[in-house]
Point group: C2
Chain length 204, copies 2
Amino acid sequence: MNSEASGKLQVRAERKNRKRQEKKDQIAGSALKALQELGYANTSLRDIAEKSSLSLGMLHYYFEDRTELILRCVSVYKTAFTSLLYETVNHAHGREAVIDALAGALATTIVEEASTHRLWYDLRSQALFDSAFRPVVEEIEETLIDILKLAATRADKADEIDASLGYALIDGVFRYQLQNQITGTPRDQKALAMEMRAVLELFL
Amino acid sequence: MNSEASGKLQVRAERKNRKRQEKKDQIAGSALKALQELGYANTSLRDIAEKSSLSLGMLHYYFEDRTELILRCVSVYKTAFTSLLYETVNHAHGREAVIDALAGALATTIVEEASTHRLWYDLRSQALFDSAFRPVVEEIEETLIDILKLAATRADKADEIDASLGYALIDGVFRYQLQNQITGTPRDQKALAMEMRAVLELFL
DNA sequence: ATTTTTATTGGACAATCGTCCAGATTAAAT
DNA sequence: ATTTAATCTGGACGATTGTCCAATAAAAAT
């Protein structure tokens, strides 16, 4: 009798919690847009509220403070980007195909989602000062490094690669391409992919 | 008669201006310390004033606004770092020596001036959002790329290298090393230099 | 149908921000 | 020595910030 009742309560509580988490993600998704546009340092909660048609109180109702909201935003971003990369790599067979697919995906996302990545670099820099940002940054980078390991496997790479170093190299070029795309002369997807391919061939 | 007088006035004005510029640099140098510690987003003018024993009014007397002060800080940082790198490269002879010298200098600065570089990456990210930061960022990166070209020359590299790409690769590793140094497990100068050497050998 | 819980609003709150200035102090010029 | 200009102080100013809450609306449970 008690077990039934508490079971019901538990299901209810879980459903409620799940709903709340979904709402949080939805809000974070909206907030992401404001952050992408203005950057961490220049985005107030009021900016976020306005740009996503939410009341200021709402934000506080779902999120403890500004930091928690922003961290959730990064998390939402992460899930979208890394799972895309994972699928891309996982569906390619053989060295050439893996390199092509990865280079292509990276180039495409620079062209189409530049402002998202801009925010990523902004928040990653924040993590150098504010330890609250470090766990999520570390988690994302570990995922990216894992994807690189997977890429090596699917590229039939015989010996182990230093995936961390590889990540650092790719990231350097990726960020530089992004910066040129935003602040310099934008290039088309093909040109970006070609350059990225050259880098990937260094160690894949 | 007029030419003498106006000449004197000109000399005077120049001396005054130079003095003011020196004072500005001195203030920027002090401000740098606060920025290094707290980062762009979390450093107020009051933080800067307190940490460098300056009055709030002083900052405004010498600098139009917050942005001008911070830009000057980056400029001060730049002069110190790039000229060190330049001297390092310029005094090395032959491929091995150039690579060793450059790798060593980069590794040393990561250990000894981590918080300065941390600020650099912070402000460079800012430039992705705020165009006011772009000229100074661009200038610094061009200088670094030039240093890389010089390195290629002094390493007796026959064919031209893609210095921009080289910069992107080195920067990726340098940043990653810095991040690990600050947020992860710090390594000694030797270990950092070894890793950096491997990267430099890729294209020097 | 009624009660209880959850969701949402709009605004108040104190703290902090960048900016600015009146006046004191010091240095330079005459 | 006197005047003029430059330097510096401390605090005031309005705007903006993150946080929080009383009141209302909506939803869920009884």
